[in-house]
Structures are given as C-alpha cells and as structure tokens.
C-alpha cells in the first residue's frame, strides 16, 4: 500500500504543568487513513498528548501540524481546527438538556451553519448506522453508558472531521457495554477513518491499530505494528506493561483472539 500523506503531525511536543514534564519531546506522524493506538500505564501522558492535539491543553514547546500547516504558532483559530479534529471523551459529555438529535446537530448547525433539515437527515442516517435511530428523541439520561458513547461518536462524526481522537472512550463503561462501542470504532476503522485512540483494551488495540505507540514517562518508548508490539516487545518497559494484563499463567488474555 502506498504511503498516504501525513495528516496530523506532532513535532517535539513538550508539555509542563509546572511540576515536572508531562510530555517530554514527543513526535508522531499520523498518515491519512491510519489508525494509531496509544497505550501506556496510567499517568504516562497519553491522554494529555491527545488533548494537546486539538488545543484543549496548551503545549510549552514543539509544533502541531495539520495537513502540513503549523497550527500551534501565532493566533490559532481553534474552533476551525477542531472541526477537522473530532474528539470523543471518556465521560461521553453529552449535553443533558438536549435530546440525542439536538446534541448531534448542534455542531453542524451552529458551527458550520449547515441546513438544519439536511443535517437532521444525515444525523438519522448515522444514528441508524450505530443502531440508535429509535433513541433520537431521547435525552441522555435515558440512555445507557454504551448508548451515550455511541451518540457521542456520531456527534463527532457529523462534523466530517479529517481525524478522530478517542480518549479512553470505554473506561467509564460497564464491561458488558464496552463491546458495542468498540464495534462502532472498528467499523469506522475499516471504512477508512483516520484515528488516534487512547485505550486500555489491549485486544481491541491489537485488532484496530495499524500501529501501536507505547508511551511511558511522557516519552514514546516504542512504535510498532500491533503484531510485533504484542508478541515481541523490544523494551523492558513495554514487556512489563504488557505483563500487567496477563492473569492466566499461559497468557490467555493476551493471545485469545476474540477480535
């Protein structure tokens, strides 16, 4: 497969909250159509990195480039950038005072100034795709966690972003709902979306990723294909990290192929 152009690029990102560096010189290229999964121990900086990519966190040094253009220098029009970089959060953060459909069309109507009727039709199509068309007039509090997260994904999709960021989107879900959300993301991956995913679901990571990036201590420690990363991690830190997911003595959890 010929290499696609670079869509989003981080160059030597440094992020500092004032008490030690959270991100220490991170560089990463995300090509069009590529699915990159960031893994690493809690507090390693992977979520922070994700939040830096759409300007929710400010970086102290380095550059972020979108479509080859630097977006972190001068006065960035973040609202414009964020329409191209969609994001889904761990805590769904649907707007509780709006129905599902209103949650979804708020962005396109108010931000992109698109026609409400046309957007509503599109929203219904997307809802159908994630199996929630019958919930379009429900309010978020009437939905289960998994349903909320699927709505949140649709809410990000409808802006037609060039890339989607997923920040531990299943971490707050009950175990039996994780699957329904991950299936949606898998489906998006197979239809060619560019995605940057932070997750603790290792089997999912292996199934969905084109490349696994292992971050520890604010640095990229390894970057490899899922196959290589999960079967032959190159560093001790990665091996130790992967070991924390193994319960059975034969490493059943790692090698099982539920995906």
């Amino acid at each position: 497969m010929a290499k696609q152009p670079v869509l989003l690029e981080a160059k030597n990102i440094i992020k500092d909250y004032g008490n030690g560096q959270v991100l220490n010189d991170i560089s990463l290229q995300i090509h069009k159509g590529e699915v990159i999964v960031l893994v690493g121990p809690s507090g390693c900086g992977k979520s922070t990195f994700l939040r830096c990519m759409n300007g929710l966190e400010q970086i102290q040094a380095g550059q972020i480039l979108l479509d080859g253009e630097v977006i972190t220098e001068g006065k960035t029009d973040w609202p414009k950038v964020r329409q191209k970089i969609g994001m889904v959060f761990q805590s769904y953060d649907l707007f509780p005072h709006m129905s599902v459909i209103d949650n979804i069309i708020l962005g396109p109507v108010k931000v992109q100034g698109r026609d409400k009727k046309e957007v509503t039709e599109e929203a219904e199509k997307l809802l159908d795709r994630v199996g929630l068309l019958d919930k379009k007039d429900a309010y978020p509090r009437q939905l289960s966690g998994g349903q909320k997260q699927r709505v949140a994904i649709v809410r990000a999709l409808i802006l037609k972003p060039e890339i989607l960021l997923f920040d531990e989107v299943t971490a707050a879900l009950d175990p039996e709902m994780v699957r329904e959300v991950l299936d949606v993301i898998l489906e998006l991956a197979s239809s060619g979306y560019t995605m940057l995913i932070v997750t603790h679901e290792m089997q999912f990571a292996r199934a969905v990723a084109d490349r696994i990036v292992f971050i520890d201590g604010g640095k990229i420690v390894e970057s490899d294909t899922p196959e290589a990363f999960f079967t032959q991690p190159k560093t001790d830190r990665a091996r130790r990290f992967l070991n924390t997911f193994i319960y059975a003595k034969d490493g059943e959890k790692l090698t099982s192929d539920s995906y």
């Binding site: 759409n54 929710l56 973040w78 609202p79 414009k80 964020r82 329409q83 969609g86 994001m87 959060f89 805590s91 953060d93 649907l94 707007f95 509780p96 005072h97 709006m98 129905s99 708020l106 962005g107 108010k110 931000v111 992109q112 429900a138 309010y139 978020p140 509090r141 009437q142 949140a152 809410r155 990000a156 802006l159």
Partner: protein
Amino acid sequence: MDTEFIAEYIPLYIEAAKLMLGIGLIGIVLSLIVGLLIALIQYFKVPILRQIATVYIELSRNTPLLVQLFFLYFGLPKAGIYISSEGCAIIGLCFLGGSYMAEAFRSGIESVEKGQEEAALALGLRKGQIIKYVILPQAISVSIPALCANVIFLIKETSVFSVVALADLMYVAKDLIGLYYKTDEALLMLVVAYLIILLPISILAAVLERSLRYAGFGN
C-alpha cells in the same frame, strides 16, 4: 376587632400593595439582568469589569438596603443628583438584588461539569456559543431555587420603601396606627397582605425546587 374599619381601609392596602409590587417587579427584573451580566463577566473573566464586579458584589452584600436608600434619597441630592422616590426604590433594590442574583447564576454556572465545556470546544463551538447553548441552559435550571429565594428576599426587602416617601404597606399601616390608633386592625391587614403576596410565591418556589430536584431533562 373593628370589621367596618378594616373594610373601609382595605382599598388603601391594595393600592399600597400594587405600588410595592410594581416597583418590586421592575427592581427584580433589573436585578436579574444585572446578576446575569455580572455572572457572564466573571465567566469570561473580562478584565477591569471583573474587578469592578467584585467590588460591587462586596459593597452590595455587606450594606443594608435601608442605608443604601438613605444615601440615594437624602445624600445624593446634596451632590446635585435628584432621583424620584420610585427611582431610588428601583435603583436600591437593583443594587442590592444584582449581587444576590449574580451569586445564584454564578453557582449555577459553576455546577455545570467541566467536561461539558470541553465537549463543546471539541465540536468547534466558540465561547459565546458555548455559554449560550451549553452552559446557561443547564446553569439556569440549577439556579432556579436560588433565584426564587432571592425574589422572595427582595420582595421582603421592599418593606423599607416608606423611608423614601413611598406609600407602601408599612407606610399605610403606620399611618393608620398613628391617626386612628387602630393598631390591631392595621397590623392584621398588614400581615394578611404580606401573606397573600408572599405565600403563593414561596409555595411556587418550593414546588419548583422539588420538581427540579427529582426530575431533570427528559422526564
């Protein structure tokens, strides 16, 4: 109890109540506007205006309405600023109420989870749109009990309007006591008048608070 006396003077109380409610209503509406503006100034962290707002809130919350009215009505004319009785009452009520309403709106805004703002940012909404479509609708429904309590508080505060020469309920009652020495009747009508005005509002407030607590969007 002199029922004839009561019947004769009820219209006086009705007039007074109308006057008080009219001025009170204007004052309360203005307080709401001032309060919302200040809450927005604080939310957007507008420089200078924000500091002014802080000073105003502290001044307003730590001085009695009675003293504010004395200054407006008796003090300011000496500086060449003449304001009518009604004007003083409205300005005073708004000066007092604005800070209370601001606090109610502010705590409502603060109660909205931070994730809401981030989710809206991630959709590309601008700050003004976020406050309008995401934060305020949620904040106001949280603020309603506090806003209602403030409305009741402000209506009660209107009882000092007689000091700026307005013929309010207290003024009428005091007049009847002074002129005819019909203390029991005058006081009874006073209490009943305030009950008629305030009881429905406070019951409504209680009902609103309960329905907001147990329900939510989507019920």
